[in-house]
Symmetry: C2
Subunit: 462 residues, 2 copies
């Protein structure tokens, strides 16, 4: 950098981000849905030896699991996204396996990229025992990492084939799930793995899953060069359950859940080329004397609603881990918008407030800045919005008294001491009440904006 | 801030931003449109003595000038916005004066705020000589500054009334225009004043104008408290011309111009509660033997098109000053999107790329990061977009060779030396060519995202 610009130098004290280690939780054997084998290995996509970069997930049930996905809406879809979308469509929402690599996104890789994604699918298909299914392919594929670079496909193929040899490590215990979650990681500082138990119509089911993504970019992708640019860490998620759900209902439930979880977190930057959330439901815990009855919204509305609610809560739990893993983030803030005409209105406002750079820097500065929240709120077009009905409140995470800063459009005299207490917590909430112009609400989760963000994303050449 | 978080401390060297002083340019007397008197005074809205905070602009032509405005679309419109909008509507697009105060936005001030804005209008009306107009009010009002605080209206009224006494400073020379521009300033580091000469149908006309706004917040509003939160510095602009244009054509031209200027700059944060761009056309240079013929798009399409083009170019010049005044900004970047189906498509993409935090930090880091530009581009919904037709090019401001980083969807091997040269300049361009899926284009101007941004907006409590 030109010395011309180094006239000024100042020391900025960077607040240390809270430790994330406690967010990686061991899970007991009873946590996991039955009928799945998983593993994570080092295939060699990532250069550092021993670092896991290839995950395999296989459903061992006789019949293919129901499968559903939500993909990035970015116009530049990575090869694995195109291929998985195609497979799900041609299979009518069924699959038997998932293969995931990290370290290379296989995005902006043209025809070779598509061929490589198909190769990963076919090699994983070859691991599966024969089934009665007439589908041509049974595996969904995901990738994450640098873009504009082709996969080292021979290494990946070799890695997949190793699972058909004595080197096989596919298993169903916690270490197996943990390896898979580790193989998803790129900029994450801990493997994101959770589980949940739920009951429908008297039967107990389980879901477990992993995701990856970080509020901001982490520089361990190596030195950034223009050939391999770093962009926002891709969001990937894979949820597995032993409930039986029809393909169309699984898709409805997932779409609903993703809208309220993965699409309700403030990640850095725009939707990446690779974002994918998958769910498989293999019915392994639903077999009653051999007869598996799939939950479907038409035939069992109540059962479906329970499943949808559980899936949503679980997706929220996984998505929140991504927010907490924001590099340099010191705050975890829940933004709730209520009293809106529609969920979409509430969601758009929550999104605008949560992603506003001015709001996020104010959070870093522990400033209960209602003005910035107001400007963000008012910049979203909601025709019924009435400024004289809007209230803004800060909510501590310890259930002590809330701090009202704007009430029905009028600013309050703010108790600065109380503001400092609440905003000084790691976790707190912001409630924006539109004053009953409707009954709908939405919740978004976000983190603050710090020097670390600029240093990592802008200053890596100094 | 808790000592618990001060475990880590690092020294970050902050690049000095280039000096802005040269951007304040003296203008010769022949620059200014005829028939206007202006001044700026210290009324006492701002505490520091001598700092100008009240501007008056008066058209001395017999008949009211045509007037047009573009206002913030924020749902929380400040009192001056509501009042000016009402006056323009009831006057059918005519006015004779403008009154502007800085230091207090008169926003989120309820009924008192509206009364105060009307008081400013009436007191300025009282300065004007009688005219044949039957309009009830003749003055438009703008405010900028802290929100949630009422105006010191007595001081403002006193200041306006001073112009009807021997203390009158209204004049038409450069110092008068300069005072008015200074009275607009809040976070600006220099008064933004420009002029332009143009010819329509053989007659020479002039426009001159001022604006205010800075790419980012400047902390000279005093210590931030929650009662008086700082948000993105309001964008205000006032353009004056001695051409004669019908009200409806003046509005069409302004709307067109604002879309391609003030709405095509990356300012920090969301549209504020106060953003306003005004234009007055008093026809003082159009009188041919006493008969003023207003340019109108129906009766003189060619004349209208010239006027619209000139107004747009002038608005661009004023708007660019705002980008250059971004606190801590070290880059001035022109983002051009071409080959789009519609102007709106191109504009949305240019906007997304220009306001992306990831792109802006990459600009600060002088990184020719096509991946982030691509992700931003692809996240805008343009159905006809074809990834295999998109090209991204970096353009130096010195007309030397451009650097192609993505060509028809394929990444180029980037000449890192050349990338460093171009991105090391203060001014450069990014061209995103959608590959002829249409013929429309849009241009946006943005600046980079630096440590200064976080320090100013987030760290003012340390």
């Amino acid at each position: 950098m030109s010395r011309l610009f180094k006239r000024l130098s100042s020391t900025i004290t960077v607040k240390a981000a809270p430790s994330k280690a406690h967010l990686h939780q061991p899970l007991p054997p009873s946590s996991f849905p039955t009928g799945y084998l998983l593993t994570g290995i080092h295939a060699g996509v990532k250069k550092k030896p021993g670092v896991l970069d290839l995950a395999l997930i296989v459903s061992t049930s006789d019949h293919p699991a129901s499968a559903a996905a939500c993909f990035t809406r970015n116009a530049f879809k990575a090869a694995p996204v195109v291929v998985s979308d195609q497979i799900l469509t041609q299979n009518g929402g069924r699959a038997r396996a998932v293969v995931v690599n990290s370290g290379c996104a296989n995005a902006v890789t043209g025809r070779q990229g598509l061929e490589d994604a198909w190769a990963m699918v076919r090699e994983t298909d070859a691991l599966l025992p024969p089934s009665a299914s007439t589908a041509e392919n049974h595996t969904l594929v995901m990738s994450t990492g640098v873009i504009g670079q082709n996969l080292p496909i021979e290494k990946i193929v070799h890695g997949i084939r190793s699972q058909a040899t004595s080197a096989r490590t596919l298993a169903s215990d916690f270490p197996a799930w943990e390896r898979a979650a580790q193989a998803f990681m790129t900029t994450d500082t801990f493997p994101k793995l959770r589980s949940r138990v739920f009951t429908i119509n008297g039967t107990e089911f389980r879901m477990a899953g992993m995701d990856k993504g970080a509020g901001m970019i982490h520089p361990d992708m190596g030195p950034a060069t223009t050939a391999f640019p770093a962009l926002h860490a891709t969001l990937l998620g894979c949820i597995l359950t032993d409930a039986a759900v029809s393909p169309r209902s699984l898709q409805s439930a997932l779409t609903y859940a993703v809208e309220r979880s993965f699409n309700s977190i403030s990640v850095d930057g725009d939707m990446s080329t690779n974002d994918t959330i998958l769910v498989l439901a293999n019915g392994a815990a639903a077999a009653n004397g051999g007869q598996v009855v799939e939950i479907d919204q038409e035939t069992d509305k109540e059962g479906y609603e329970i499943f949808k609610t559980e899936l949503t809560a679980f997706a929220v739990e996984l998505a929140q881990l991504v927010v907490r893993d924001g590099e340099g983030a010191t705050k975890f803030v829940t933004v709730n918008v209520k009293g809106a005409p529609t969920f979409e209105d509430a969601h758009r406002i929550a999104s605008r407030v949560s992603t506003s750079a001015l709001v996020k820097t104010a959070l870093y500065g522990e400033d209960a800045n209602w003005g910035r929240i107001l400007a963000a709120t008012g910049s979203v077009s909601v025709p019924a919005l009435d400024p004289s009905k809007v209230s803004v409140t800060f909510l501590p995470s310890d259930n002590t008294a809330a701090l009202r800063v704007l009430v029905n459009g009028e600013p309050e005299v703010v108790d600065e001491v109380r503001a400092k207490e609440i905003l000084g917590l790691e976790d707190f909430g912001i409630c924006i009440d539109l004053g009953g112009i409707g009954n709908e609400e939405a919740t978004y989760w976000t983190c603050d904006f710090s020097y670390e963000y600029v240093r990592i994303n802008g200053d890596y050449r100094s």
